[in-house]
């Protein structure tokens, strides 16, 4: 019987969040806390000739001014290529150059304005293809001299290439000969912003005994601990990282950046508590953003409409520093074809430095970018073959037995059921073949379809954990290292625990903040793996509880432990269910009527470590980077004004194979939110750089997000093909709503306007500038 799984259990954080009681990093009291502010680079690429901090230091209330000279350490989760504060050279406009610590924010801001930096401008590199060209200046002189933290990072000496991943299977040259229809297309996607509503921020203080306390708006408290420990040679146990509620992450709070600066700030003032806040403009230009992408795709189809070969080149614009982008590049390679059966494949995914703001994971982990390219090509192919684009996808969909790009054999458990998703979306989106339908003069409606799939790219040894205690009323406290940033992982984990114990989800209380001292380590709250990894830890912790409850029960009832059942908050013998003990009377040990104490207090613990993952073969790409795939299909319908090149998005649909629906309402909302983000980013969002590499006005007034009134009708459907190793068959879930939407929108607009749209964002101007097919 389901007590919790499959129910629309209310968010555990709901009332905290509607009463202002949910505290975020910068909501904690600031009395006695010093303020830190950043000075950032005004050049995209320049040598720092001199920094004059004397005037800033002269202001009353200024406690310290730091520059790159104060911090020789380099940072980065994969390749240590980034200084905390620029040293000798700046590589993007917005790069932190100096840090002021003062008694309060206004004083710190005043001091920042008095720091004078002399730059000698260097040539800027603004696109990945420019960065790859012969003779282009090197952004990092010795890219292969940096320390690698994982072995599968491959910087290429004497180039701007930070890493490269290849996929090679079958024989593409031969297979292209057999193809009747061929599409070759180049794509360009600019970088854009995460724009979580909470700006990134961090606090730090250091005790006299050297213990460090960091409070941060972070998806990765355990990475903060690790990176600080390794960089500053502090034992990890002496570093405590606290993460309260996080006001949105979307991947942008996975990197470790402000935490290091806050630590340096505190260290410079004898360990006093310091809060580092940055304005929205710096959150956009200085903290890492979403990747840009250039792609060259060539895909061929035989006379039966089956894809025979693909030759794919993806250049990921990682900006000035790598952060996690080599793994985002690897993620592109892993899933580069989209969820289609293609026997002959050649793919080169390359991570390239430019003088843009450095990038980090963004919802979709590069899938939202490359999927636009491959899914646009699929529509071009379907059109050339005169096939319904949705039927064309069904014909080529991966199915059990297909090999993924990295030559993992698909099974229902591993990859799910794309054909079912595509069939179900026909009805959900009222699919009509994908042709534009005239509504009135100069106005048409058109639908576009796109598929997505995604596996994960964690380190092969990522871990998670769960600890459970009981309260005297028999309810439980669930403690994990999962950050609550909106994706509702805590509630879903509570449901998994409640189901295991056969009680209502309201019998599980959660800890909505993370403290690395008390919560068991959870790798990072990223990659949609919360319910999978922490879920498995919760299942094990629940099994641990059940075993102890049975042990206590067997002692009380005087029968073997395997005769004891646990359900509905009761412990009883199978043979006599009428006679039971309520949780409250047994979870802290049992006291008989005679006062005899029996059994032990019940405390649950469970740990989980990913197993069976591998690095990719450097030549063929063979290997498996994530435990499973989540896939689905999406459709967007637009109403387009053919004269004004404007359009309105009428509806957006997703059918996704989630393995198991844990919480229908919460998961529907998560997918709708993902679709909204996909629509916003593909219809209007882009960083615009001038020829000197300076981003034009990075703020929310000029960088427009979708607001209410522009949203479509969202439709969400689920398919449940269980994954064999996960709790209740669920698959990784959270990010996915965003992934196929840019492509579905692009396909809808291409159908409406008859133009091969290959550039994001899809603004009326982009559409207008794209030549009409009739004129090509």
């Amino acid at each position: 019987m389901n007590t919790a799984i499959g129910k629309s259990v209310r968010r555990k954080d709901a009332w905290d969040k509607v009463t202002g009681k949910a505290l975020y990093t910068d909501d904690f009291p600031i009395s006695g806390v010093l303020a830190a502010r950043l000075l950032t680079s005004t050049c995209a690429h320049a040598r720092i000739l001199h920094i004059d901090i004397s005037k800033a230091l002269g202001i009353k209330g200024v406690k310290a001014v730091l520059t790159g000279a104060d911090c020789p350490e380099l940072f980065g989760p994969l390749l240590q290529d980034r200084p905390a504060l620029a040293r000798d050279v700046v590589r993007y406009a917005g790069e932190p150059v100096a840090l002021v610590v003062a008694t309060d924010k206004p004083t710190a801001e005043r001091a920042v304005r008095l720091i004078k930096v002399d730059y000698e401008p260097l040539a800027v590199v603004l696109t990945p293809s420019q960065a790859m060209a012969e003779g282009t200046p090197l952004i990092h002189k010795q890219v292969n001299g940096y320390k690698k933290l994982l072995t599968d990072i491959y910087p290429e000496a004497g180039t701007n290439i930070a890493s490269r991943y290849r996929m090679q299977k079958g024989n593409t040259a031969e297979a292209f000969q057999r193809c009747k229809v061929l599409v070759e297309q180049r794509f360009f996607l600019p970088p854009s912003a995460h724009l979580a509503m909470e700006v990134r921020t961090a606090r730090a203080e250091i005790s006299s005994d050297g213990s460090v306390l960091i409070t941060a708006s972070s998806q990765s408290p355990y990475s903060v601990r690790k990176q600080l420990s390794e960089a500053f040679l502090i034992p990890a146990g002496k570093i405590q990282v606290r993460v309260p509620y996080v006001g949105g992450g979307f991947g942008g709070k996975a990197p470790v950046m402000l935490e290091v600066l806050a630590f340096l700030a505190s260290r410079s003032v004898g360990g006093k508590a310091v809060r580092l806040t940055i304005p929205r403009e710096q959150d956009m230009a200085s903290a890492p953003c979403r990747m840009g992408l250039e792609a060259d795709l060539k895909v061929g189809v035989d006379e039966n409409g089956l894809i025979q070969a693909a030759d794919l080149t993806y250049l990921l614009d990682c900006g000035a520093y790598t952060d996690i982008s080599p793994y985002m590049t690897k993620a592109i390679a892993m899933d580069c074809t989209g969820p289609y059966h293609i026997e002959n494949l050649s793919c080169d995914a390359i991570c390239v430095y430019t003088n843009h703001t450095y990038v980090t994971s963004f919802r979709g982990f590069s899938h939202e970018s490359f999927t636009f390219c491959i899914e646009r090509v699929l529509d071009m192919l379907a059109s050339k073959c005169s096939l319904d684009p949705l039927e064309f996808r069904i014909r080529n969909a991966i199915r059990p037995g297909s090999l993924t790009p990295s030559q993992v054999e698909c099974t229902a458990s591993l990859t799910g059921d794309l054909t079912k998703c595509l069939n179900n979306i026909k009805q959900l989106a009222q699919w009509n073949g994908g042709n534009a339908v005239p509504i009135k003069e100069n106005t048409v409606r058109a639908k576009g379809v796109a598929c997505f799939w995604k596996t994960e790219n964690p380190p092969t040894d990522a871990i998670s954990g769960a600890m459970i205690t009981f309260n005297p009323d028999g309810s439980m406290n669930l403690n994990t290292g999962v950050v609550e940033m909106g994706s509702n992982g805590q509630t879903h984990l509570a449901q998994i625990l409640a189901e295991k114990l056969q009680v209502d989800a309201d019998q599980v209380h959660v800890v909505t903040s993370v403290d690395t001292r008390t919560a068991p380590e959870h790798w990072k709250t990223v990659a949609s793996l919360t319910e999978y990894m922490a879920g498995l830890a919760v299942v094990r912790a629940a099994d641990d509880l059940l075993e102890q409850l049975r042990s206590n029960g067997s002692q009380v009832f005087g029968c073997p432990a395997d005769e004891i059942e646990v359900a509905n908050g009761r412990v009883f013998s199978k043979k006599n269910p009428e006679q039971f003990i309520a949780f409250k009377d047994i979870v802290q040990g049992y006291k008989s009527q005679q006062g005899e104490s029996i059994g032990e207090p019940v405390l649950g613990r469970g740990g989980f470590m990913l197993k069976g993952l591998s690095m990719l073969d450097p030549q063929t790409g063979q290997g498996k980077t994530g435990p499973e795939w989540t896939l689905g299909a999406q459709v967007v319908e637009v109403e387009a004004d053919l004269k004004a090149f404007s359009y309105r998005i009428l509806n957006a649909s997703t059918v996704i194979d989630v393995g198991k629906v844990i919480n229908p309402e919460s998961m529907r909302a998560m997918i709708a939110g993902g679709m909204a983000m996909g629509i916003s980013l593909s219809s209007r969002e882009a960083y615009i750089y001038d020829q000197d590499g300076i981003p034009r006005l990075p703020n929310l007034r000029t960088y427009k997000l979708m607001h209410i009134g522009q949203e479509p009708d969202y439709r969400v459907g689920f398919v449940e093909t269980p994954e064999d190793n996960s709790p209740y068959g669920l698959r990784s879930f959270a990010e996915h709503g965003v992934i196929g939407i840019p492509a579905a929108l692009g396909n809808a607009l291409a159908a409406a306007f008859g133009r091969q749209l290959v550039i994001l964002p899809l603004t009326p101007e982009t559409i207008w500038r794209t030549p009409s097919e009739e004129h090509v």
């Binding site: 968010r11 969040k17 509607v18 009463t19 979580a196 509503m197 509620y245 909106g486 007034r701």
Partner: protein, 157 residues
């Protein structure tokens, strides 16, 4: 015209309580609410009036507290989410409609919605609701849930 120099003590009427606070003339109402009165429901999101996360109610109207100086609030009635006491219909409506995920924009939206109801006791047309709510941004939801919360707020009272 009143002229303020240095730090001055001003009287603020917030959530039904009278407060005296010492402020600089340039201090934002948002900062004074958060840092001096400990009322942190209103959030800094852009400090530029673009996102609405800092929205409070002033004399029954929604105001972005990052665009207002604390000294300008003297003599006015300020209401923040803390002052709704968990009993305003819009709060339960937001819970029932799943109108938030990360929760950071929520306080601002709650105050816009509460002000909408204050100024329009009967449910206005959809385009009026949109006009009111366009002042605020949410990055997590698809806005549909927030729209539903507004309807629930009107239906519940």
């Amino acid at each position: 015209m009143v002229k303020y120099e240095g730090k001055v003590v001003i009287a603020l009427q917030v959530n039904g309580e009278a407060h005296e606070v010492a402020v600089r003339p340039s201090d934002l109402l948002l900062d004074v609410l958060r840092e001096q009165l400990g009322l942190t429901a209103a959030k800094p999101g852009c400090l530029n009036g673009d996102c609405g996360a800092c929205t409070i109610m002033l004399d029954g109207w929604p105001v972005k507290s990052c665009l207002m100086l604390a000294v300008e609030a003297e003599g006015h009635v300020v209401l923040t989410v803390e002052g709704l006491n968990g009993t305003a219909p819009i709060q339960k409506a937001f819970v029932d409609a799943d109108a938030f995920q990360c929760g950071y924009c929520t306080s601002g939206f709650l105050m816009v919605c509460h002000a909408l109801k204050t100024q329009n006791p009967l449910m206005p047309k959809e385009n009026i609701i949109e006009e009111w709510l366009q002042s605020n941004l949410c990055r997590c939801t698809g806005y549909q849930e927030i729209r539903r919360a507004v309807r629930l707020m009107y239906e519940s009272t």
